[in-house]
Amino acid sequence: MTELVKGLSGEEALPTGEPVNISRRKLLLASAGATAGALVIGFGLPLGAARAQGPGAMAPGTRVPAFLEIRPDNMVRFLSPFVEGGQGIFTAMAQIVGEELDADPASFIVENAPAGDDYGVMEGGGRYTGGSQSVRSSYDTMRRLGALARQMLLQAASASLGVPIGQLTTKPGAVVHTASGRTMAYGSLAAKALDLPVPDPASVKLKDPSEFRWIGKPVERIDVYEKSVGKAIFAIDCSVDGMLHAAVQHAPRLGLTVGTIRNEAQLLAMKGVHSVHVLPGAVAVVAERWWNAKRAAEAAQVDWKEPGPDSKVRYMPADFSTAEFAEKLATAPGDGVDAEKEGDIAGAFESAGKVVSATYYSQYVRHAQLEPPSALARFNQDGSLDVWLPNQAPEMFRADISARTGLEPEKINIHSPLLGGFFGRHFLYEFANPYPQAIELAKEVGRPIKLIWSREEEFLRDPVRPMAIVRFRGALDADGMPVALEAVSACEGPTEALWGHQDGKVDESAVEGLTGKSYAFPNKRIAQLYVQNPAMIGYWRSVGNSMNDFLYETFLDELADEGGQDPYELRLHLLKENARLTTLLKSVVELSGGWKRGPFTAVDGTKRARGIAMASPFGSHTAAIAEVSIEHGEVKVHDLWQSIDPGKIVNPAIIEAQINSAVALGLSEVLLEDAAYEKGMPLARNYDMYPILPPHRMPRVHVRIVESGEKMGGIGEPGLPAVPPAVANAVSQLTGRRIRAMPLSQFKFSS
């Protein structure tokens, strides 16, 4: 986007030509009735200039021109620090900034911001899109940004109208001088405001929430039209002049390298093929068209070499199978490292009326975002490098590219198009992203390269959500009430997979969801037993919670049953000191029409049951109830009720959509998904053998938002973790068969 700003500001076009397809903005502008060239009388500085002032000059999130541009037609262009990938962050940002700026979110054109210090707006610095952090970690900063911009417009109007600033106010999109009845549209003030210094952030006052016009309202999303007519641009859609296409064939197992390509001459002779390249762990073909590149890459007959003894790369052995690995996890020696400990666990088990022990299992799952990964790399004559790539953390990717290429970060322009779904897929995982390959190929070929991973190559390199075996023990007192709980999870967490495991340390991302529960167990111990995985591990939507809440909440039902307790009553009992969660739990029960565990016969004659579960992921709290039956031996989920308490909210419509989305993914995980390996290879390389939730298995979803007013929590991920256990608990109740593993498709049920 950088050169777009330059181009539109009348600067020289880049020597290798303008990106042709990065024209989402032009298109928007065209649709707004303007023509390119005339319109960007920027409110703000061109981004390059904004960045050139260097880091540290102003606090991140305060340099208004780095974020905002107001056009003569009053449209507001906003560069979002957070990447849009379906979670609605662009709309949320437009609401938050627009609220304080006093500009209708509908007048916003939002794009992803490039890499740069100005955008490190998260609490504690930096920024990435993940952990359901975007809104909650930048809420105040982004509000202040809007307020600062409004202040600058007021100042400009004050000068133009020659009235004291104190007499001015705003209405959406305009400054108003009530006394004289004069108004000035923001668009007419933008050029002036440009020259003003940004006021001291402490000088602006934020609105009282009672005055909110857009925050807290179901404002329409600003991107749905473009996304409904195929005009939204994803990384895979980008193109630049002179570009060639590339495809790869990855080594069948991580860690192998290219020995020889037996049929290189044949590949070179194939239609449209430009060149064949050996890359680390892959063979690449560059061609005029992607299809030609893909066919040739597939046709490559490669003798793969096992890694040498000094290889540092994660290695997938030829005999690895997930079935055997599950065994290994289950029998891994040791008791783990404490993640959470309270009370006297040994004593509690000794004096227990009854001890319940069970082993629970969660599987590897894939991100399976619908957009296959791609990257477009272009070296420019001025020594700079442009890279278009799906990513959740532009600065991290820029730093990595800088390390790979030796280029100064300032010479690297990171473009972050819309993400065709992400769910944690687009972080910096070793050997899991196409951009290093695209950059290498662009360098070797001397032309811009767009590389797309076919779905098959993607499923070979997509980092999986961890699998875990959790050994549970629960102690019940004489009345069947649980008094102690121990969970030891044999698992490798994504954070340690990425940054390295430290002996004696727990990876929080491996155990969250076992930890952080609010149930009042007087004695508890949660521990992690680290076992390294040959498969690369990644963050997946709601990370550790995506499996751990399943593991924990289903065992909690097992404990309830063993103690003769109703699982809902037991949860209420364990939460009786916690008003917030008690309210939440009761709200979902109320939403579902009252607690009815079943089995019962529904009006259509099917036998059904309900299950309940809770989760506290990413600063929010959720409770879910699922109603299931068995149809043709398969679990059918009819209804899913979910209450969420995120403290405070920005857009209830987006929350509802995100809950629907998280429910779909959670159901997909519990009903269908299993990224199994045999002989070191994933059994599924496409959606054929790795089915994800199809439309006909989507239940009715009922959402209630409980706004407790507590600290703001996340939205994108929290809707997922309570879903799998709610379903599994319902199935256990319905079938009388204890469910201790996902996915349910591995079991046959009789109707």
Partner: protein, 152 residues
Amino acid sequence: MKLQINNKAYDVEADGDTPLLWVIRDELGMTGTKYGCGLAQCGACSVLVDGMVMRSCVTPVESVAGRSITTIEAIEEDEVGKRVVEAWVKHQVPQCGYCQSGQVIAATALLKQTAHPTDEDVMAAMANLCRCGTYNAISAAVRDLAEEEGAQ
């Protein structure tokens, strides 16, 4: 080979067995039609051929030469397509949006063929995958369109 896309004639060079998808995206530069699986599993690549939905990733370009192809880029030029897009906006269907070109095409094809789809029709026609889980919004939009049509 001659192709008729969105009422425009194109001459394309690709081999006859090249999937239509890649001709549309790479050779003709229309990127609204998406690649998700290349295996007829997801529906992201759906286009209309003579008004019927086809998955362009498994359509050898040779087999549609001379037939009338409509891609998402021209969907609003179709009366039904235009209403589908309106319903998509009204029901705020898209999330990441990647699957939505295909969803809109699938819904358009369905409603062009039957104004009053049955549940089975909807189930068979709206089988495209959406990893973001917009299924309920899609059904609401399709139901809305079917009823609207019924009222006419």
